[in-house]
């Protein structure tokens, strides 16, 4: 499998605090890579570095061989990196469908004057955007279809908001999806559904997925590979079973090792 996303020696510090240090990481095309680690390990910072919200102090970030360092977030998204947020961030006062349609901005071309004049090209593109949005929403079965298309995003339940956020990310036509704790705050049934969904995103959607998750059932269920972060460094990497039983990982989570001096 060719490498899609590659981080080499990436470092980020905020003042004196080193959040990520010398991190190497790669995501292969078509795989689901899970990032685990205790709170404050630098997982979300990792996402912010990849998507261009932060600029790394050192190191290289490449998507399919192309450097992402120094690009503005919208440019990174346009190259094929889409993400969701740990705290769901939707366009609350827009309709469900509009939320998804808005994310098609990056790969649509109609200039404002074309929209005003309703040129054939602009109208065709608008139709395509509507179809795209309906297709992405249909990916979630009956959850986000029908009358829900036209209801405001704020009226959705929490789980549906998470789903809509993923649909919005899909509408940017990404090659890699970055999911930040997709199952956080969900009940067991919804968590199970999210696990299935991530599998479907890879198999049917054809997306490569980098996911941060705390729920080990989800991690075990979806991951092709797992890496564990602690204090901004990679402490373990490999299949779920191996990482989960790695003493360094257990120590990072639970601090179990007895101090011997």
């Amino acid at each position: 499998m060719p490498v899609l996303l590659e981080l080499e020696g990436v470092a980020k510090r905020f003042g004196g605090l080193s959040v990520i240090s010398d991190l190497d990481l790669h995501v292969d095309e078509g795989e689901v890579l899970s990032v685990i680690g205790p709170n404050g390990a630098g997982k979300t910072t990792l996402f912010n570095l990849i998507t261009g919200v932060y600029r790394p102090d050192a190191g290289a970030i490449r998507l399919d061989g192309r450097s992402l360092v120094g690009l503005e977030p919208h440019a990174v998204t346009r190259l094929g990196v889409a993400r969701t947020f740990q705290t769901v961030r939707l366009f609350l006062n827009m309709t469900v469908k509009e939320n998804v349609m808005a994310a098609a901005y990056g790969h649509t071309r109609a200039r404002p004057w074309q929209s005003v004049l309703r040129t054939p090209a602009a109208r065709r593109e608008e139709r395509e955007v509507v179809e795209l949005a309906e297709r992405q929403l249909a990916f979630f079965g009956s959850r986000l279809t029908g009358y829900r298309h036209h209801q405001p995003a704020y009226s959705l339940s929490y789980a549906n908001r998470r789903r809509l956020e993923i649909a919005r990310a899909m509408a940017t036509r990404p090659r890699i999806l970055l999911l930040d704790e997709p199952a956080a705050g969900m009940n067991p049934a919804e968590t199970h559904e999210m696990t299935e969904l991530i599998g479907r995103l890879r198999d049917q959607g054809g997306y490569t997925i980098l996911v941060i998750e705390h729920d080990m059932n989800v991690v075990a269920g979806v991951s092709d590979r797992v890496i564990a972060l602690d204090h901004g460094t990679k402490i373990s990497e490999g299949p779920f079973q191996r990482v989960a039983s790695d003493p360094r990982v257990i120590e990072a989570y639970l601090g179990l090792r007895a101090e011997r001096t």
Binding site: V53, T77, R89, F91, N93, Y105, P152, T172
Partner: protein, 484 residues
């Protein structure tokens, strides 16, 4: 929301479905039917109706005053549309908006007057000024790249003030190369003798010409904005208004779109500025003060920020209402009309408001009888009104011969009574309303009707308060949720 879920709605499953069902049920009855029918009429038809009504004004023999009011309303609507792009769609709090309007007006005046002895062809000037104001929008929008909300508001407010200062003081501008100061803006006296607009061989001279010109401009602007707002650009604006970070990470170039919003809003304001300068045949710094800015904001907020028909309606209300109320008889009609409608709408069941009104009428005559018996000289025979309604009401309410002192006291009493009214139990409140309504009528007839200029502003303010309370998200706006 307190209301019981309707049949077929599962509790907790879908709030929105329940609300939608409730709305459907609200559509029953004659008023509900009417409302549903009105809702079905497309936005294009409403626009057409507006155009026809305004265009018919001169044909129906409207007075010059009425046409002037209509011209002001159209100008105001155009301005509000531009502000709506910046504030309503992109959510950028721009308090320097008035500078775009002034810039457009001054540019047109400079290029079409004897100030520099320039008389450029109007079509070229208007186009140029519109584009230039759009560019100024880009420039003044630059702080929005980093600043949000209140901070942006302060910086843009400063821009607006700079403009007024420049306009007031650039009458003795000393360029380094010139020997004597240059009079650019005419200072506090402004620039007068501005050319009317002439397009090719056609000179726009009469008020009617400008009415049609502005109506055309407004229609084009409404259609263009409607299409733009529905396009990817409009969606991107709303997305960045809702959550700029999420928008940026959804592939939307947020900074560029903010600047574009400023440019579009600025261009529209510049365009209306040129028309304003030509209508007024002059420009003065005082035309572009903060009061106007606040009025434009009021129009956008009243109508519903982010709603095109709402903003047009808001602009119409804000600009026409004070003119309508210039005539005290109109004011009286409105005052009692609003009072009546409020009572009928708010006091239920149906027999209560009727009983209440009957009680009030009886109370009025009783008070009159008592007053005439005790102090025959203290009561005037007829009211202050000039029309039949005014005289009748004046006679009923017993206007005192010394209206000022008694009226003032009654006014204070009325305010106190209204405050007290909100503290009463509903059952008691209906009875308490009888003297309060009479007191309101008494205050109106004895004090307010006599001073239309003050009353006008009181009424406008009161109506705005009532409207905003009835529809907090604007007349035609959609309710917005901040955080849930």
């Amino acid at each position: 929301m307190g209301a019981e879920p309707g049949p077929g709605v599962r509790i907790g499953v879908d709030d929105w479905a329940a609300e939608a069902a409730q709305r459907t049920r609200a559509r029953e009855g004659p008023f509900g039917q009417l409302r549903a029918t009105l809702d079905r009429v497309g936005p294009g038809w409403w626009l057409a109706l507006m155009v026809v009504v305004v265009a018919a004004l001169p044909v129906l023999g409207a007075s010059q005053f009425l046409i002037r009011v209509a011209i002001n309303a159209l100008l105001f609507a155009l301005l509000a549309l531009g502000l709506n792009v910046i504030v309503g769609e992109a959510g950028l709090l721009d308090l320097g908006y008035i500078a775009f309007y002034g810039f457009g007006a001054y540019c047109y005046a400079l290029l079409s007057s004897n100030q520099f002895h320039l008389h450029w062809p109007s079509e070229l000037t208007i186009l140029l000024v519109t584009v230039a104001t759009g560019c100024l929008g880009l420039l003044l929008g630059l702080p929005s790249r980093r600043l949000l909300g209140d901070y942006l508001a302060i910086v843009t407010l400063f821009f607006g003030q700079i403009f007024v200062q420049l306009a007031t003081n650039l009458d003795r501008f000393q360029p380094p190369w010139a020997s004597k100061p240059l009079n650019v803006t005419g200072g506090p006296n402004g620039i007068f003798g501005v050319d009317p607009i002439r397009i090719g061989p056609v000179h726009l001279i009469s008020q009617e010409d400008y009415l049609y010109l502005l109506l055309g401009l407004l229609t084009v602007a409404v259609v263009a904005l409607h299409r733009l707002v529905g396009s990817r650009t409009g969606r991107a604006w709303r997305a960045l208004r809702e959550d700029a970070t999420a928008a940026e990470l959804a592939g939307i170039p947020v900074r560029r779109l903010k600047l574009f919003a400023f440019a579009v809003g600025g261009a529209i304001a510049g365009l209306s500025g040129t028309a304003f300068a030509a209508v007024q045949l002059g420009v003065f710094p005082s035309n572009f003060d903060l009061t106007l800015l606040i009025m434009i904001y009021a129009a956008v907020v009243l109508g519903g920020a982010g709603s095109l028909p709402g903003v047009l309606l808001g602009a119409a209300v804000i600009s026409v209402l004070p003119e309508v109320l210039r005539d005290p008889d109109h004011g009286r009609l409105l005052f009692y009309g609003v009072l009546l409608v409020l009572l009928l709408a708010r006091v239920r069941p149906w027999w209560r408001p009727i009983a209440l009104l009957a009680g009030t009428v009886a109370l009025g005559f009783l008070i009159r009888l008592v007053a005439e018996a005790l102090w025959p000289t203290a009561v005037t025979a007829a009211g202050a009104g000039s029309d039949a309604l005014g005289r009748a009401l004046g006679a009923w309410v017993a206007v005192p011969t010394k209206p000022v002192a008694i009226g003032n006291a009654a006014f204070v009493l009325l305010v106190a009574a209204l405050l007290l009214l909100t503290r009463l139990r509903p059952a008691v409140r209906t009875f308490a309303l009888v003297p309060v309504v009479w007191l309101a009528a008494f205050v109106w007839e004895s004090r307010l009707a006599g001073e239309p200029s003050v009353t006008r502003q009181l009424l406008v303010g009161a109506i705005l308060v009532v409207m905003m309370n009835a529809r907090p998200h604007g007349l035609l706006g959609r309710p917005r949720v901040e955080v849930l």
